[in-house]
Symmetry: C2
Subunit: 141 residues, 2 copies
Amino acid sequence: MTTEGEPLTKRDFEALARFRFGIRSYLRFSEETVRSHGLTPQQYQLLLALKGFPERDWASVRELADRLQLRHNSVVELINRAQGQGLVTRAAHPTDARAVRVLLTKQGEKVLSQLSALHRDELQRMGSVLMPPVWSEFPPA
Amino acid sequence: MTTEGEPLTKRDFEALARFRFGIRSYLRFSEETVRSHGLTPQQYQLLLALKGFPERDWASVRELADRLQLRHNSVVELINRAQGQGLVTRAAHPTDARAVRVLLTKQGEKVLSQLSALHRDELQRMGSVLMPPVWSEFPPA
DNA sequence: TACCTGAGTATCGTATCACGATATAAACTC
DNA sequence: GAGTTTATATCGTGATACGATACTCAGGTA
């Protein structure tokens, strides 16, 4: 059922390339949409990571670094810029005085809602282009 | 069946964030893997776009710009850097004297094969994390 | 208390890279 | 063959992720 170790066929390369193209297309859509609303792609990802954080609607810098797959210092700078635009705020962490609680502002909430709706629609529109390839022993015709 | 226009629930935000996290994780894996082999992420994407080009194993700058979702001048610079490392070459276009045919070198082929195999394995490993969210009227329990 | 080690956050300088603006050459059209 | 479009290339700029470094606080040990 798995193809681990076997060399790739032309079809495999095309599948990998197709998937990468899907990702790039989605990110390109995201970038243009988001920029037309005055945000950078990273800022949108930050807002989304906050609102979409499991069980909560805020996160610490370290948690965000994990979710955004960035180094902590990069996240600090990202937060600084977003804060400068009034999208997020910092507050005291409930239990740890070293840590920071990053929150969405009213404005951040509002923009995020608009943008997220557009992203949901685009995802529905893209459909199978974004599906990761599946390798099976007997590929479908 | 579609949810277009409706406001997003907390669950929706989490689904969007989860998907974005999947993409970031995959790209992060890709970046580290690729860099450990002496390439930049963009260079890997370039090589993959060439080898994975439908029906062919080469492409023009413009075609690459489309597949990589970049401006043409960005692709030119990307090709320059990749060419400097001996990963790709330029050749005359078969029908259009303005255009350029970009090809993989032997070395480019070799590295791409190794990296692509690792990516295929990782995709199999990641499984559902990379699946785009699905919105249905009656979400599954 | 005093100390130590590690974790969380912040600052700064650097390097990369995608882009817009611009240029040149070939193709196409009339 | 003059004008328009398409394909590639060059150059300067801006944004940003990162490593190195520093500071504060938490948690443990004596």
